[in-house]
């Protein structure tokens, strides 16, 4: 909810998924996104599994992983799933703007 409000605040149209499985289903329905903020810890299908699935589907959108983990091993595991970048929680407006600036 907080991340959605942050995105709304900077005028970015967005859609939230409750879990990784829903994120994958949204893409299966044909919808496309410039940016995916992928939480690592999600029920049903976690961020690593969802990222791998999206990449195997040929999704080329920028995927930025978000997690409370800051240990290198954990970050590497997530990056290897197919991320373009990684942010440690909490997300703030400055971190979000830096990601958005890289896309525009």
């Amino acid at each position: 909810m907080i991340h959605q409000w942050m995105l709304n605040k900077v005028g970015v149209k967005n859609q939230a998924a409750e879990n990784g499985k829903e994120a994958v289903q949204i893409h299966c329905s044909g919808q496309g996104f410039d940016l995916i903020l992928m939480d690592k810890e999600m029920p049903l299908m976690n961020g690593i599994e969802a990222t791998k699935e999206l990449r195997s589907m040929g999704i080329c959108s920028k995927i930025v992983g978000v997690s409370s983990h800051s240990e290198e091993k954990q970050i590497q595991e997530f990056m290897e799933a197919g991320l373009d970048d990684y942010l440690v929680k909490p997300l703030n407006m400055a971190k979000l703007r830096s990601i958005l600036d890289n896309i525009m």
């Binding site: 909810m1 409000w5 942050m6 690592k40 997690s67 409370s68 983990h69 929680k89 909490p90 703030n92």
Partner: protein
């Protein structure tokens, strides 16, 4: 005299917030939340925090349930709940709760059951304290909004 009640309550709110920051209960992430609140979403902070309370209590129950199991060994499952709690706590600026989650996570990484139990008790204590203080803050905010909404009739003598 108009608005004096609201001003006093505003001062009370700021005093409480300063206290919570000084004690390390909250950090700058809470300010980020406040900055997202505006006329179009005047209750944004309390709405987000109430969702956080609802989700956190579920996670705390899950953690306690796991640790109370006689044959408990699923530290991985515990880690998943902990990571969720840690992520949401840091996202609302609950600094002390986040720090206790970190210590708890270290105990799960070492499969240290007694360490986990101690950390859980500390976590429940910190969470309760945070919840009470934020409820106090929102109550003052509500009273201030009501007081600021009071209008005295102008007297023409």
């Amino acid at each position: 005299m108009l608005g004096l009640g609201a001003d006093l309550l505003w001062a009370d709110m700021n005093r409480l917030l300063a206290f919570l920051f000084h004690q390390g209960v909250l950090d700058e992430q809470f300010l980020q939340l406040q900055q997202l609140q505006d006329e179009t979403s005047p209750n944004f902070v309390s709405e987000v925090v109430n969702i956080y309370f609802h989700e956190s209590e579920k996670l705390l129950r899950n953690l306690r349930g796991l640790l109370m199991e006689r044959e408990f060994s699923d530290y991985k499952k515990m880690g998943i709940h902990l990571n969720q709690l840690m992520g949401s706590s840091s996202s609302i600026g609950a600094k002390r709760v986040t720090n206790v989650c970190l210590a708890f996570r270290a105990a799960t990484d070492h499969s240290n059951r007694s360490g986990c139990l101690r950390a859980l008790e500390m976590l429940e204590h910190e969470y309760c304290y945070l919840k009470n203080k934020l409820h106090e803050l929102f109550q003052i905010e509500q009273q201030r909004a009501l007081a600021a909404g009071v209008r005295y009739p102008v007297q023409n003598n």
